[in-house]
């Protein structure tokens, strides 16, 4: 059972970092999607006002 602690440390760090990155990426996508929708609707209402 020698060196299992090093194996656990490596697997723990790698999968924690990957999961955190995945969630941060999803969160950034969601924020960008909200901002893009707001800009699109603002642009549409501006064009509607002009006509």
């Amino acid at each position: 059972m020698e060196h299992w602690s090093f194996v656990a440390l490596a697997y723990g760090i790698v999968w924690s970092v990957l999961v955190v990155y995945l969630f941060s990426l999803k969160s950034r996508c969601k924020k960008a999607q909200i901002e893009l929708s707001a800009l699109t609707s603002a642009q549409a209402s501006n064009e509607h006002d002009q006509t």
């Binding site: 020698e2 194996v7 697997y11 970092v17 995945l22 893009l36 642009q43």
Partner: protein, 218 residues
């Protein structure tokens, strides 16, 4: 599909695969270490392709691809260095040594971290993309150096486990160790493409936001 292959890879690497005859259980870090650096190499290859295409055709999609791949590549390179350090402590007796391969990998991480910093420091988006594309092409030259470093210099790092010239992978590594390694490589590559597709989508949306803002300001 990425999730299933990751689960199979984890189970095979940690439970089914036998321990290495010399290194014992700690050799199981190889099932993370090799897939991580291959994912990083592939990311930088995409940075190289995206950068060359951007410098040639000046299309935004190529720059978004290069930028996305650089971010994911930096993540996998950092993970490779961390895994290597944890593996090195029980096998070499040190967390870090200025070995040729380790040093060149650290330089690779610095180059692409610099690439990402450069992009955030230059305000003009088109100029940032051009300067970063040049760095993306030059930085890729470090990868053949890393691969050949174990042949050119006397190093602590072992020679490649599967990509050796004039030898098939199964001639270097026993099947019970090769199977989980290949499963983990497939799992990491699937994960890489999933992360890249998300990051590319984010890049596209940011580009659209920038265009909409410019239209509004005009």
């Amino acid at each position: 599909m990425a999730l299933i292959s990751i689960a199979i890879g984890l189970y095979w690497g940690l439970v089914i695969a036998p321990p290495d005859a010399y290194q014992g259980e700690v050799q199981r870090i190889m099932y993370l270490h090799l897939p991580s650096i291959l994912a990083a190499y592939l990311s930088y290859f995409l940075v190289f392709i995206g950068s060359c295409m951007y410098l040639w055709k000046r299309e935004r999609r190529d720059d978004i691809l290069a930028h996305s791949a650089a971010e994911v590549g930096v993540l996998f390179t950092a993970l490779t260095i961390i895994e290597g350090s944890i593996w090195g402590r029980p096998t070499w007796g040190v967390w870090w040594t200025w070995d040729a391969r380790l040093t060149l990998t650290a330089i690779l991480l610095l180059i692409y971290t610099g690439y990402l910093m450069l992009r955030s420091l230059i305000e003009d988006e088109d100029r940032a993309a051009s300067v970063a594309a040049v760095l993306g092409v030059i930085g890729f030259l470090d990868i053949p150096l890393i691969h050949m470093s174990v042949y050119w210099w006397r190093t602590l790092h072992q020679p490649p486990s599967i990509l050796q010239p004039n030898k098939a992978p199964w001639e270097n590594i026993a099947w019970p160790l090769l199977i989980p390694l290949l499963i983990n490589i497939a799992a990491f590559l699937l994960l890489l493409f999933y992360l890249l597709s998300l990051r590319y989508r984010l890049g596209e949306m940011r580009d659209q936001i920038r265009t909409r803002r410019l239209e509004q300001s005009v």
